[in-house]
Symmetry: none
Subunit: 300 residues, 2 copies
């Protein structure tokens, strides 16, 4: 075969891994095999594709050109299998979802439950990660669809609004604010504040919007996890700000009370995203309908 197809596959993995040895592991081969194939390919194209920089390897310009195209090619080949399976009406299939924290833990589970009731043959995986990681997983084709706290930044991804959310102040039932529905921002300053760890999407929004109103939180206690924030507020440690989505149960049970911040817009939107050049399988499309509209909408 004069098109060096197998070599292209091996090159692609090696370029992705930036390491021949790791590529060998991924491909269930040994390192010398990788070296040889790359060498063959370099012979074919008449130029080096990798610089061997000591222990590291790095793509040359020619390598970069090649890699850009092989990514598309092997994406297409993967999609082929899906498309043909669907043609045959194979109802099973696999749906790989990635989501950021709040969505993955509080929003998706009930949706997944309903979806599973209707399509019990579909295997589902859900990977909860930070926004950036979800984007990367989409680009690496490791997940079919992602749910993010912000529109995907990468141009290779298609993004759309998925769900509107609102951040609310939460206080324990023992708190004097528990009988109110609104609180003006400046009153927050004197409160001990239980807040999510730096780096979370929620945290960023809170700080940005409060800063707009000239309010900076002083007495803050940080927790790494939403559940911890809830528990802390419940037990009277202070007041918190969390997504409405994550406290519905607690509020319903009368464990905490939520209030809005007067005159501060704490709404935000979650987004879905997928690779522009990815063929969305029926399963994926259907799930997206479920997620956005609660039920399957139109078929297209």
């Amino acid at each position: 075969m004069d098109t060096y197809l197998n070599q292209l596959k091996i090159f692609h993995v090696a370029a992705k891994e930036k390491c021949f040895t790791r590529a060998a592991t991924v491909l269930f081969l040994t390192q010398p095999g990788i070296s040889k194939h790359i060498k063959d390919l370099e012979g074919h194209y008449g130029t080096r594709l990798f610089d061997r920089l000591g222990k590291k390897v790095a793509l040359t310009q020619a390598g970069e050109i090649l890699f850009a195209k092989t990514a598309t090619i092997f994406n297409m080949i993967e999609q082929l299998k899906v498309e043909i399976d669907e043609l045959q009406g194979m109802k099973g299939g696999f749906l790989k979802i990635g989501a950021s924290m709040t969505i993955g833990v509080y929003v998706l589970p009930p949706i997944l439950g309903r979806f599973r009731d209707t399509y019990p043959q579909v295997d589902i995986s859900l990977d909860v990660a930070v926004n950036r990681q979800v984007e990367e997983n989409l680009l690496a084709n490791a997940i079919d669809i992602g749910f993010l706290g912000a529109p995907a930044a990468d141009a290779r991804l298609v993004t759309g609004p998925f769900l509107n959310d609102e951040l609310v102040v939460i206080v324990p039932m023992s708190h004097e604010w528990a009988r109110r529905d609104f609180v003006p921002p400046h009153e927050l300053i004197n409160q001990t504040f239980v807040i999510a760890k730096e780096g979370s999407g929620t945290r960023r929004i809170i700080e940005a919007r409060l800063a707009d109103r000239g309010v900076t939180l002083k007495k803050t206690i940080e927790f790494g996890h939403t559940e911890a924030v809830k528990k802390a507020v419940e037990s009277g440690l202070g007041v918190g700000i969390l997504s409405k989505l994550v406290i519905v149960r607690e509020e319903h049970l009368g464990l905490i009370k939520s209030l809005r911040l007067e005159g501060v817009d704490l709404t935000r939107t979650f987004f879905f995203a997928y690779r522009k050049d990815k063929y969305l399988s029926r399963v994926t499309k259907t799930f997206l309908q479920y997620a956005i509209y609660g039920k399957a909408g139109s078929d297209q």
Copy 2:
């Protein structure tokens, strides 16, 4: 390989030819080989790709899906060769150069200009930095080639001489030395000296060579920049020592006069350097020829 790449190629040709026997001829194979590969591929996709209609074969629906994509795929693969060849023919690509001050500002620009005239499609970046930084950039593979005021110290770098330079004493036209061509070193001592900032290559050479002759400069004024030194000398602030390369224009315009130091060797050499284990692209090689010989030399 679990992607059946070779089979895809064979399928593609067979689908194009609508005939296994002819596909065999095209691919320099025999018909049974084609049959087997198609069969393997059908096993992989779990469905027939061709209907065997008596003496004829025709694509099934699944086959059509496959054929549509393989057409794109093999198109891309062909395109790849073209794109990489273009890179080789220097109809694209980029060249990342690092250089120390004097070379980057006074020597390279005209060379870059000529190079660009011949290869307008090559993108060029030039990063001017201190010697050490240039070396580090080379090692980090951030630049393709570097030009330095001293041979690269790191064993992983290949170094070669690039350009000979000479430091000369410069005086304003109003100075009594302006009518001389040589000046003995000891006369320098009584002069106010305008000199480049500590740390520059030029400064180090001046001090080392003068120290050999037992001369230490006393009345010195430091400037951070070569241009400042020139301006200072022009306006009669004192005498200076600078590279011949940087004052050709000023001397030609009659703004300053340059003299040699009697009996002191103030010549120095500039060097190019690149990573020993880096593949020098054609663009890089050609540029190096331009830099060293003024024009492209031999092709190898």
